[in-house]
Symmetry: C2
Subunit: 104 residues, 2 copies
Amino acid sequence: MNGAIYYCPVDLTLSVVGGRWQGLIVWALRGGPKRFSELKRELVAVNDKMLSQTLKLLVEQGIVTRTDFQSVPPKVEYNLTENGRQLLVIFEKMEAWGTHYSEA
Amino acid sequence: MNGAIYYCPVDLTLSVVGGRWQGLIVWALRGGPKRFSELKRELVAVNDKMLSQTLKLLVEQGIVTRTDFQSVPPKVEYNLTENGRQLLVIFEKMEAWGTHYSEA
């Protein structure tokens, strides 16, 4: 992706979901589209710059769509693409592991 | 883990598998124990410092064991713990997604 070289399919997938904010944004969008402000509220520790950079990257990677409704006041929504939705099975396994691990 | 604060179980799991080298080392150990030199050969782009730091982190996180056979010449092997093995279902889903995505 973007001309990068990957060892294997796992490496490619890690480049999409491996970053903390990348992963958490994908996961936060599992229930449907969200606005920037909603994502920011949910991921309290993220700052504006990091959130917009990571969203831009996810759009470039074909994981997230950005829809600007051209309205006043401005309304922009982010949503998962079909490729993005297909990542959710990975996150469901991550949730199961993390739940088990944090109880251990 | 290590006193860090996580949003959710997915966030915790990302802290274990999210880093490129963390993830690739866990995946490289799926078939059984490996020596440092074997991991280094497999992950060609990793340097010694990064590999040993990441292995140390994975040991601290309870994902990988380090066994020093106290032999001459020295022999040290890395292997997945039970918690580490339970991560493999996540990687299998990553492999499937990455394979599909790279063909798309």
